[in-house]
């Protein structure tokens, strides 16, 4: 029994290693190059950055469906601000501030409506997703706005340090910060407690509504950061810039073992999930699978990952305990 648990602990790195080995064997020339690996990580970085904040929302048992369109809105905000400042470096600084502020504000709105009016997070963020997209449309007139300078702006997405582009470092830094907060501070522990059993958390003196509020603000800020990086990578923005990213982020989290029921998941796990998606995309490209079929394959992989996870939980249920039954119904007893 002990052995099995140990194996479970390392199952994620093992899957990652297996992926790398398989791709190396199948495409020995194009896959295991520094350029390609750097490319994979670069493409992963935007939703890698986003998931580091959104994981707080998942942990308290919520969900944020607006992150795709909020990412787009942040991209629009930074580009418009830079243009408003005449493409100066000061404009870049102002743009970053403005985009982060928009993200934080979105989190405040989410947190307020969800905790004060007790509206399901799913509905609230679904609605604001439409609002953010609409705002971006209005701001851009539904056109692509390109932004090729100043250098400070393009450097965020493109400049390389030691062979790796800056977004990868941004992802690493925010992942470390997020990991540290969740793993090492009482605040982080409280997130797990709230998602694991809100009633018990409240009895333990934890301000569950206040901390849930903060979780949504973190999600908003990390999403805005993702939007800034994305705008710089593509050197442009449009309303639909970030659309679909919410699915990538949720998929990364779920593959990484973050429970959408709350109370379970880690930052390394979520980043692992993001990297797996990146490798999957990369592998499909290198194997010349037509892009029309990518969705199909990804969907199957997600179901397999989630089913595998559920299966592991069922094993534990057989030992007299189910992760999924808690706080749901006590009738089964």
């Amino acid at each position: 029994m002990k052995k099995k648990i140990q194996w479970g602990k390392f199952s994620k790195p093992m899957i990652l290693v297996a992926f790398v080995i398989i791709l190396t064997i199948l495409r020995p020339d194009s896959f295991p190059t520094l350029g390609n690996i750097s490319n994979v990580l670069w493409s992963v970085s935007v939703y890698g950055i986003m998931v580091c904040g959104t994981i707080f929302v998942f942990l308290v048992g919520g969900i944020d469906l607006s992150i795709g369109s909020l990412c787009g809105l942040s991209a629009v905000v930074i580009v418009k601000t830079i243009h408003a400042f005449g493409d100066t470096e000061g404009g870049v600084a102002a743009g970053i501030m403005a985009a982060l502020l928009v993200g934080a504000l979105a989190g405040v709105i989410h947190g307020f409506v969800i905790t004060k009016f007790k509206v399901p997070a799913f509905l609230v963020t679904f609605a604001t997703s439409s609002i953010f997209l609409g705002l971006s449309m209005v701001l851009t007139n539904n056109k692509i706005i390109s932004c090729l300078g100043p250098d400070l702006f393009t450097a965020i997405g493109m400049m390389k340090i030691l062979g790796f582009p800056i977004p990868i470092y941004v992802m690493l830094i925010i992942a470390i910060v997020s990991w540290f907060v969740l793993r090492k501070t009482p605040f982080g522990r409280y997130m797990y407690a709230i998602g694991g059993n809100p009633a018990a958390a409240r009895l333990s003196g934890i301000n569950d509504t206040g901390l849930t509020f903060l979780a949504y603000i973190f999600s908003g800020i990390s999403t805005a950061l993702g939007g800034i990086v994305l705008a710089s990578m593509t050197q442009q923005c449009m309303a639909s810039t970030g659309s679909g990213y919410e699915t990538e982020v949720i998929t990364a989290a779920v593959i990484g073992g973050v429970s959408l029921l709350g109370g379970e998941g880690t930052v390394p796990g979520a980043i692992f999930g993001a990297v797996i998606i990146g490798l999957l995309n990369n592998g499909l490209n290198l194997m010349s699978v037509p892009s029309t079929e990518h969705g199909l394959v990804k969907g199957i992989v997600i179901i397999a990952a989630v089913a595998f996870d559920a299966l592991q939980h069922q094993d534990q249920a057989k030992k007299g305990f189910s992760f999924f039954s808690f706080g749901k119904s006590k009738k089964t007893a």
Binding site: N197, A201, R202, L203, G205, I206, N207, G263, G320
Partner: protein
């Protein structure tokens, strides 16, 4: 009363043991047509086991069950429904967005051409409602109804399958006085129509009022079967507890703690909705103050308000002479600990390890390295808790959801022991816990009291209440009605006070 009907259900010589521990030892129980037969007994007397055998949830080890004179085997709830027995559960299973009629005929809808015949369904429901005079309408959406009316729908459901025996388990537990009255009049109508009812209740006054006969169980045996004329409250209490009550309950080795200084002073505490009213008491340093009473007497609500989970309307709480404005966070800071009644729902975080559950309320005392929690200090705290109260397995990494009930409770309790406690509030500390762990928890509470901690203990287990408490306050319908000293109290006295028998005596004299 109407003449005695023929026997409809008879259970003879029922034996049942769980892993070697006998729960029912030759119980006899019979119900006649058109009678309300009450079933009473202390917690653990075997009432619910007997009912579960009758409804096919458990299988009996020995004995036989007769339905209308013929021996039957009941192996599932379906079998029991087929015979015409329906159980009205405490946890209601109605579906709020549907109408009354849709709920009553759920899964058995009358059909016309493959579609549900709503007209007929409503007519059938209306007919049932008229026959038994229920205060319901077939087309009302259930979401708009109160808990009492929802319970009536469950009864209607049973009647719609032509059930002739209804089992009601504590049906008034969550009803208001008015709703209960309405239920009683329905029960009378049912009885007149020849429906039999097994009525399980802790409340003597209801049994006294409704029952045609009463079976009292004690320690898995029949203590008595009484006819209506013989149902006398004090006699029933004696039967429930038995003559073998340990009269030495208040052993003299007790130290007199009431001489100690007052630690907690509660004055005139009153709840918004009247679940407790004008509660005043003091608790001393090192005292274990027990709260007795029936379920629903307001004890849990009272201690929750003192700790600050629920708001109270008026009154004050003083700790060591200082007025508190209770909220869990402030209470913890002031030196309170709280072990809730429902361990699974409120006590612990099942996915988190023992270590993290123990640390949850204690991050103000766990050491830090800069901003980071010191893992070593956290682990040391957990190990101390594991050692102090013998949590098993002694594995800090183990998720608390995977532990046994007793060990889960130790974790919930353990996190408070790591702090400088002044007051520990503990609600039904040993519900669903095995005997060994029970004793450990009692010893723990006693040693805490010796160290000067004030313990507020809410318990429905009379033996436990009397064994552990230094002083007992009995609550009834939201008020404290009686105070007992450990030296003089007996289980019968607590139960009588909880049932309100003392009051009525005084009123009569």
């Amino acid at each position: 009363m109407s003449e005695k009907g023929e026997t409809i259900l008879e259970a003879k010589e029922i034996f049942k043991a769980f892993s070697g521990v006998p729960v029912l030892q030759g119980v006899h129980f019979d119900v006649r047509k058109g009678e309300v037969h009450a079933l009473m007994g202390e917690n653990g007397a075997g009432k619910s086991t007997l009912i579960k055998i009758i409804t096919g949830v458990y299988s009996k080890d020995r004995g036989s069950i007769f339905w209308e004179g013929k021996e039957v085997e009941i192996n599932s709830y379906k079998d029991c429904q087929r015979l015409g027995i329906a159980c009205i559960y405490q946890e209601l299973s109605v579906i709020p967005p549907l109408t009354v009629a849709q709920n009553v005929y759920l899964g058995r809808e009358p059909k016309k051409g493959g579609l549900i015949d709503y007209k007929k369904m409503n007519e059938m429901t209306a007919e049932l409602i008229a026959r038994y005079d229920f205060p319901l309408k077939p087309e009302t959406i259930v979401a708009n109804l109160g808990i009492g009316q929802r319970q009536l729908i469950e009864i209607l459901k049973g009647l719609s399958c032509n059930s002739r025996l209804l089992i009601m388990d504590e049906p008034t537990a969550s009803l208001s006085g008015k709703e209960a009255e309405s239920l009683f009049s329905i029960i009378n109508t049912l009885r007149k129509n020849g429906v039999s009812i097994i009525y399980i209740s802790h409340r003597l006054e209801e049994v006294y009022r409704l029952a045609d006969r009463l079976t009292v169980l004690r320690d898995g045996k029949n203590a008595a079967v009484l006819d209506q004329a013989d149902i006398q409250p004090l006699r029933v209490i004696e039967l429930m507890i038995g003559k073998t009550v340990d009269e030495s309950a208040g052993s003299s080795k007790q130290m007199r703690v009431s001489k100690n200084e007052v630690r907690l002073d509660v004055r005139g505490l009153t709840d918004e909705t009247g679940r407790f009213r004008d509660i005043s008491f003091t608790a001393h340093k090192g005292e274990i103050l027990g709260f007795g009473g029936l379920i629903g007497a307001g004890r849990t609500e009272l201690v929750r308000a003192i700790y600050g989970i629920d708001k109270f309307k008026s009154g004050e709480v003083y700790l060591d002479g200082k007025k508190l404005n209770p909220s869990p966070k402030r209470s913890i800071k002031a030196g309170f600990g709280f072990v809730p009644e429902d361990r699974r729902q409120q006590g612990f975080i099942p996915l988190l390890s023992i270590e993290k559950n123990v640390a949850l309320t204690n991050y103000d005392i766990v050491k830090r390295n800069g901003a980071a929690i010191s893992d070593a200090s956290e682990l040391a705290m957990c190990k101390e808790a594991i050692k102090k109260i013998d949590i098993r397995p002694a594995d800090p990494e183990k998720a608390v959801g995977l532990l046994s009930g007793g060990n889960q409770q130790k974790v919930v309790l353990g996190k408070w022991l790591m702090r400088d406690l002044k007051v520990l509030i503990i609600d039904e500390p040993t519900a669903g816990i095995d005997v060994g762990a029970k004793n450990e928890i009692y010893e723990l509470l006693e040693s805490l009291a010796k160290q000067g901690v004030t313990v507020l203990l809410v318990s429905s287990d009379l033996q436990e209440l009397i064994r552990v408490s230094h002083r007992i306050l009995v609550m009834r319908k939201g008020s404290i009605v009686k105070e007992f000293d450990k030296e003089t109290v007996t289980q019968a006295m607590v139960l009588a006070a909880a049932q309100g028998l003392e009051e009525s005596k005084e009123a009569a004299s």
